[in-house]
């Protein structure tokens, strides 16, 4: 397969996933804040803690450069439509579209159409319409567009290298997004009760009702809440959340599951059926998979979840770089 075509697939996978992840995150965050009864949605100083979302998407700098007012309106525009924000939903989707356009002859025409039609629909929205019709209407549309694309892909595309590259992009992005989300949210939520009662710092315990609410929002952001309930009977414990989102091999958005999928695709591409890695990307992915497979959540929290997740994010970047160097540079 041409490296350029593989690269386009990789990035289609990443950008579609990124758009979906952003939509989920903003949607859940917005509604969680509403439910918590916090006032002042249009207020000049929204208490909705948009800061953490800016941190997750690494776009705080862009935001403060372009907006004076710390309002929900500006945040919604920033995450959904702002062409200055390289990670906004519209920018991600239009990049996915550009990549898809360049390999139209490689993918089924329905796949191109699914991306193109959704793009044209997103363009019909703006922040006024979001506020008028409710953010959920828009963000749900983005999620559905991503699922539609994925569904068509599953149904139409040959079980070929093309599919593996789309999957590698998708799972690498998803794993990275989950790690970031947890990293930032954990940081937000933990100090909240530490400050309340510095004496009884109990990293594995449950915080206030407010924190509980925050943890539920985290799970919901990655559509994990219901699945979490099925598996963990002990309530919403940080250690269990970490276990589920980072280490659980069966949950489709867990970091462990995502990197394993990437590993599987890479081995299929190189034709490597042994357990030992045959390429540099396989080696770096394999090492991360091993770490995630053999770690325990309590350990991770004791040794510092932030350090651990930061390490995961750095290694996701490394994996991306190794893949690009080995296969995609053209």
């Amino acid at each position: 397969m041409l490296s350029r075509d593989a690269d386009a697939c990789f990035w289609i996978g990443r950008y579609v996933e990124r758009a979906e992840a952003t939509a989920r995150m903003v949607d859940v965050h917005y509604h969680a804040a509403l439910e918590s009864g916090l006032p002042g949605i249009e207020g000049a100083d929204s208490p909705m803690r948009w800061d953490s979302l800016l941190a997750i998407s690494h776009t705080a700098e862009e935001f403060y450069k372009h907006y004076d007012v710390y309002s929900d309106r500006n945040f919604l525009h920033h995450f959904a439509f702002d062409t200055e924000n390289p990670n906004s939903i519209l920018v991600s989707w239009s990049r996915a579209r550009e990549n898809a356009r360049s390999i139209r002859e490689q993918i089924a025409s329905e796949m191109w159409e699914a991306i193109n039609i959704s793009y044209l629909q997103f363009r019909d929205w703006d922040v006024d319409r979001i506020l008028a019709e409710g953010p959920h209407a828009f963000f749900n549309r983005v999620k559905n567009a991503s699922h539609l694309f994925q569904g068509i892909l599953n149904r139409t595309l040959l079980m070929s290298e093309t599919r593996d590259w789309l999957d590698i992009g998708r799972f690498l992005e998803r794993g990275d997004q989950t790690a970031r989300l947890l990293d930032v949210k954990y940081h937000d939520l933990l100090p909240a009760y530490q400050e309340e009662d510095a004496e009884s710092v109990e990293p594995l315990g449950v915080g206030s009702t407010m924190d509980m609410h925050g943890w539920i929002a985290v799970l919901k952001s990655v559509s994990a809440f219901e699945m979490y309930r099925k598996i963990y009977r002990g309530g919403i414990l940080p250690a269990s959340v970490v276990d589920f989102l980072v280490l659980h091999p069966q949950f489709p958005a867990s970091v462990n599951h995502c990197v394993k999928r990437v590993e599987g695709c890479l081995k299929r591409i190189s034709g490597n059926s042994s357990s030992a890695p045959s390429t540099e990307p396989e080696r770096v992915v394999g090492r991360l998979v091993a770490d995630l497979t053999y770690s325990r959540p309590e350990e991770i929290i004791l040794e510092g979840l932030h350090e651990f997740l930061d390490g995961v994010q750095v290694r996701c970047i490394e994996i991306g770089n190794a893949i690009t160097r080995t296969y995609l540079s053209y």
């Binding site: 397969m1 041409l2 490296s3 350029r4 593989a6 579209r97 356009r101 360049s102 139209r104 002859e105 025409s109 193109n116 044209l120 363009r123 290298e161 590259w165 591409i269 296969y327 995609l328 540079s329 053209y330």
Partner: protein, 521 residues
């Protein structure tokens, strides 16, 4: 109301009608079939065809449209029919012309005998924008420069075919020939049987076979053939993508390729893979920044040298544009005589060269009667339609001609033939041209029995280019002459149809009928 009710041929040569209400023999069956069709029925078929075009993505990109809108190339459902005898003549004439032009290219890039003998003025060749002195003395495989040729033909008021211009660089449009045919076979299936229309779908098979033949020595067994495109923003990208798919070859951009030690490779996820033959749709100027424009990002550094060394083949070869220059065009009849010792079978349109002092004077004095063309422009740009232009426009052109006579030619306005096109709820005559495609292989030249018929959809317009409001028609080349009786006995058509069908079977089951007809002249 009949589709052809009130149809006027006026003073033009009409492809379908000898006179209003009297179809030409080879159109008789189509006429009979359509005569009783209602406009509503026809419109429905047209809409179905349009939808099929959009669904199949047969579109061209509209430049400068940010939304990425793509429009279907307008398509007129009424086919243009060419009888067997006419086609046989065109085939001989086009093969003769391409044979001579290829010899001309080989000569001017080697010994330049034709220039030394003064048949073609040297300054017209060495001064041509598309002359590539860098490529002189190089030897393309088999001595073939033009592997794919798409010359534009027109018919004048007597119905005489004339060549309007040659396209020897990267002629486009063949994807429409193939797609139009698919749509028409669905729309009028029985007519194909009745009329014994010759198939065109072997075009890509023949093209791929010819491309494979060009593979370097030692690489013939399983050559890696690719199609080089300038990229998605090129207006013909759809065709590049379509052809790559039909040929089953990789569609590559310059950045996918590299040269190392005079060998061309493509970058794949499994490492570099050698490339043997490149069907390139990138112009000479952008092909190789080492040899041509160093600012080109569409090409491959070192490609020309790898080609010169015979390590990779290009189709078409380099520098072919000098032979489709509008000034050289005027010399093609002399070029044919020089190399082949024969008179040109298909005539040129009379051409005045502004570089010739007598013609220069005539052109400037008769701008209101002439069509003036810049030598190195295409797609209907850089052109003055004298009779229809404003005085101001004519004066502008006069200035341009005076500034650079070498760059201009003029021709009398030819009353292009017309064919009926469906407009709103009936048919009206519209001007058309004809672009047949020839494939020059090592063994023979193949003319695909079909062509792109472009139609100027605007009433009264002579400009058929898609960029200027043109559309296309399917072109049916008949395997047999219509029976002379059908001229007078329209009622016999049913029986005639049976007879023709019997004869036509071998035609439609033979995938490569033209392979046997070849034979370079």
């Amino acid at each position: 109301m009949s589709l052809f009710h009130g149809y006027e041929t006026e003073s033009f040569y009409d492809e379908m009608f000898e006179a209003p209400g009297t179809p030409r023999p080879h159109y008789q069956k189509l006429y009979t079939r359509l005569r009783d069709m209602s406009a509503e029925d026809f419109r429905k078929r047209t809409q179905l065809a349009d939808r099929a075009l959009i669904q199949q993505g047969i579109t061209f990109a509209v430049y400068g449209d940010e939304k990425g809108t793509e429009k279907p190339f307008p398509f007129d459902l009424l086919p243009r029919i060419i009888p067997a005898r006419e086609w046989e003549f065109l085939e001989r004439g086009l093969k003769q012309r391409l044979t001579a032009l290829n010899l001309f290219l080989h000569d001017i890039y080697h010994d330049q005998k034709i220039l030394n003998d003064g048949v073609v003025p040297r300054e017209l060749v060495v001064g041509a924008v598309n002359y590539r002195p860098q490529f002189r003395y190089a030897d393309p495989p088999g001595g073939i420069y033009v592997h794919i040729c798409g010359s534009d033909l027109i018919r004048d008021v007597d119905g005489t075919y004339r060549v309007l211009e040659d396209n020897l660089r990267t002629p486009s449009g063949v994807s429409y020939v193939l797609e139009n045919r698919i749509i028409l076979t669905r729309t009028f299936p029985s007519l194909f049987r009745d009329l014994a229309v010759r198939p065109v779908d072997h075009y890509t098979t023949q093209l791929l076979a010819n491309l494979c033949e060009l593979a370097p020595a030692g690489r013939e067994a399983n050559p890696n053939v690719v199609l080089l495109t300038p990229g998605v923003y090129n207006s013909a990208y759809f065709e590049h993508s379509f052809l790559a798919q039909q040929l089953g070859i990789e569609l590559v951009e310059g950045r996918d390729l590299f040269c190392d030690d005079n060998i061309v490779y493509m970058k794949t996820t499994r490492g570099p893979q050698r490339v043997d033959v490149i069907y390139r749709r990138v112009d000479d100027d952008f092909l190789d920044p080492l040899t041509f424009r160093s600012d080109s990002v569409l090409g491959v550094s070192g490609l020309v040298n790898a080609y010169r060394a015979g390590n990779v083949a290009l189709a078409n070869s380099i520098g072919t544009g000098v032979a489709d220059d509008k000034v050289i065009y005027a010399y093609v009849p002399r070029i044919i005589e020089y190399y082949l010792g024969e008179k040109a079978l298909i005539q040129n349109v009379d051409t005045y060269l502004a570089s010739n002092p007598q013609d220069y004077k005539y052109i400037l004095e008769n701008l209101d009667k002439l069509v003036v063309k810049a030598a190195n422009e295409s797609g209907g740009y850089g052109m003055l339609m004298g009779p229809q232009a404003t005085q101001q426009k004519r004066e502008e052109f006069a200035e341009q001609i005076k500034a650079n006579p070498r760059n201009y030619i003029a021709q009398p306005l030819i009353s292009l033939s017309r064919a009926p096109a469906f407009v709103e709820n009936h048919c009206e005559g519209r001007h058309i041209d004809l672009r047949p495609y020839l494939l020059f292989g090592k063994e023979s030249i193949t003319l695909i029995p079909g062509a792109l018929t472009r139609v100027a959809l605007r009433k009264g317009s002579y400009v058929v280019n898609s960029s200027q409001g043109g559309g296309s028609k399917d072109t049916w080349v008949l395997a047999n002459e219509p029976h002379p009786l059908s001229q007078t006995m329209g009622g016999m058509s049913q029986t005639m149809g049976e007879g023709t069908m019997m004869q036509s079977l071998p035609q439609s089951t033979n995938p490569n009928p033209t392979l046997e007809q070849g034979g370079a002249q």
